[in-house]
């Protein structure tokens, strides 16, 4: 109770500095929030197209259906693979003529079916990263009777790269602001300690534990962190509303990300306060 009261006093004592600390945390997490919003929406878009992405292994001319059946069973055993469909030469021709109606005459006039038989692979949820697809493709290429493996993943790779850039940007910019926030919280806590150095010296003299002395300052850091986190949440929500109303419909961040973000802000505030208080308390004792 005393700790909470004194933490509130600490914030009241230097409202400008506390406000600056909260703003710094808020801005750093707002940047992270914007990138998180982008990354989350890219994820959602990816999930939609990914479920439709297939890998197709074209079989060599003359591969028997029996061999293809055995391979199919084996490939279905891969952890990444949900389903394998065998498409015979005849089926391939039929599908081609049906899908490409403008060429239906060309297909019906053919004397020899030029289309190869193939195996079409669908992937399990959670196994659709470029690395998973590439690994499966590589294994398929290992079969003698597989002529060629194709997958339209190049653009997905590019989207993934974009996502990585978003994450990297959030890390660098958010990190820079977070560092600023840590320094500001440190200054705020140091000022609060300075204002109470006489009290702290008496506490040390009569035998208060370091934990007891530190507690109000840690609470001050925690409150500053949470306030900064809430500010970031508000700003991110504002940006989301503006974009959704004027540009394109986006989906809002998952709850777990929001809770995680606020917890992170709280920890950031407490860690910054802890660093400052540890050093200052030792200095008071040494004096």
């Amino acid at each position: 109770m005393r700790s909470v009261r004194e933490a509130a006093q600490g914030i009241r004592r230097a409202p400008l500095l506390s406000g600056l600390s909260i703003t710094a945390i808020g801005l750093s997490l707002f940047i992270v929030g914007l990138f998180a919003l982008t990354a989350h929406n890219i994820d959602e878009a990816l999930a939609g197209v990914e479920s439709r992405v297939e890998v197709v292994a074209f079989l060599r001319e003359g591969t028997g259906e029996e061999l293809a059946g055995i391979a199919r069973a084996e490939i279905e055993g891969f952890p990444e693979v949900a389903e394998v469909r065998y498409v015979s030469k005849v089926e391939a021709l039929y599908e081609a003529s049906r899908e490409l109606t403008e060429f239906s005459d060309v297909f019906s006039d053919l004397e020899v079916n030029p289309l190869p038989a193939s195996l079409e692979l669908a992937f399990r949820d959670g196994y659709r990263t470029p690395e998973d697809v590439e690994r499966v493709a590589e294994r398929l290429r290992g079969y003698d009777f597989v002529e060629e493996v194709r997958y339209g993943r190049e653009w997905v790779d590019r989207v993934f790269a974009l996502r990585r850039v978003a994450a990297g940007g959030a890390l660098v910019l958010g990190g820079a602001f977070a560092l600023g926030a840590i320094l500001l919280i440190g200054i705020a806590v140091r000022m609060a300690i300075l204002a109470r150095s006489r009290e702290i010296a008496i506490m040390q003299t009569v035998g208060a534990t370091d934990a007891y002395i530190r507690r109000p300052f840690l609470i001050e850091g925690l409150v500053t962190g949470i306030a900064g986190g809430l500010l970031a949440l508000g700003l991110t929500r504002l940006a989301y509303e503006i974009v959704t109303r004027s540009l394109l419909a986006m989906s809002w961040l998952p709850d777990i990300w929001i809770v995680g973000g606020i917890l992170f802000a709280a920890l950031l505030g407490m860690a910054a306060a802890s660093r400052a208080v540890r050093r200052e308390i030792r200095r008071i004792q040494a004096g």
Binding site: R2, R198, E199, A201, I202, M203, Q204, T205, V206, G207, A208, T209, D210, Y212, I213, Q285
Partner: protein
């Protein structure tokens, strides 16, 4: 109770503040720590309170040794060793009672026990009527009594006092000193730094440990009979 064994404490490469000091203050004993300003009296008290650690040698207080004590044990030691300052060091924004309660609160005394104990302590130092007065409303002697009550709050085995009468007039000095004697009579060891030669002369029964330039130059108990006049004149 307080044992100094060949203790040296240096702050830099120049002359150490305390050098090679050895003495033993027993349980229930009262000792003056005397000597001119800069002789090392405050350093000795800070060493006994383990605010400072010896550069060489060992300080033992009760069961705590400077050679082995861990940082997290220091609060425990400080509760066993009360400290009184020359300038009282009361919190101006708190009343006399609150200043004492503050010490109890920050050492984890249950809330219900604080009030009765503060009342008892104020009674013990003769300030029951001034419980609600702020430090600025109290005389120097009264402020020092509050500080003593605060130092006694954790029921220490030893009371260290750094020139506790240095800021007081003669009458207040006599009253505060009597208080220390009463506290000592109840079994608490007292080590009091003072350069008040007159105070020492008036109490020839009290042991005198005298320092000069950081070295122990006289110990009335080790030297046999105290000769307060002789060394008192040198103060």
């Amino acid at each position: 109770m307080i044992l100094f064994r060949e203790v040296t404490r240096a702050f830099d490469r120049s002359t150490p503040a305390v050098r090679d000091v050895s003495f033993h203050v027993r349980k229930g004993e009262f000792a003056f720590l005397s000597g001119p300003s800069g002789a090392g009296k405050t350093t000795i008290l800070k060493l006994a309170h383990m605010q400072l650690m010896p550069t060489r040698g060992e300080v033992r207080v009760s069961r705590y040794s400077s050679a082995r004590i861990r940082r997290r044990e220091l609060p425990e030691l400080r509760r066993r060793v009360g400290f009184v300052f020359q300038d009282f060091r009361l919190l101006e924004g708190l009343t006399a009672a609150e200043n004492i309660a503050f010490a109890l609160e920050c050492t984890g005394t249950p809330r219900a026990k604080i009030e009765p104990r503060v009342g008892r302590l104020l009674g013990q130092v003769g300030l029951a009527a001034r419980a609600r007065s702020f430090p600025r409303e109290l005389s120097g002697g009264e402020q020092q009594r509050v500080a003593i009550a605060r130092a006694l709050a954790t029921e220490p085995l030893v009371l260290l006092a750094d020139e506790p009468t240095g800021n007081l007039d003669e009458r207040a000095t006599a009253g505060v000193f009597e208080l220390f004697r009463r506290i000592n009579a109840s079994g608490t060891s007292v080590m009091m730094a003072t350069h008040d030669a007159e105070l020492i002369r008036r109490h020839p029964d009290i042991r005198v440990i005298e320092l000069e330039e950081g070295a122990l130059v006289f110990d009335s108990r080790e030297d046999g009979a105290a000769e307060p006049g002789a060394h008192g004149d040198r103060l």
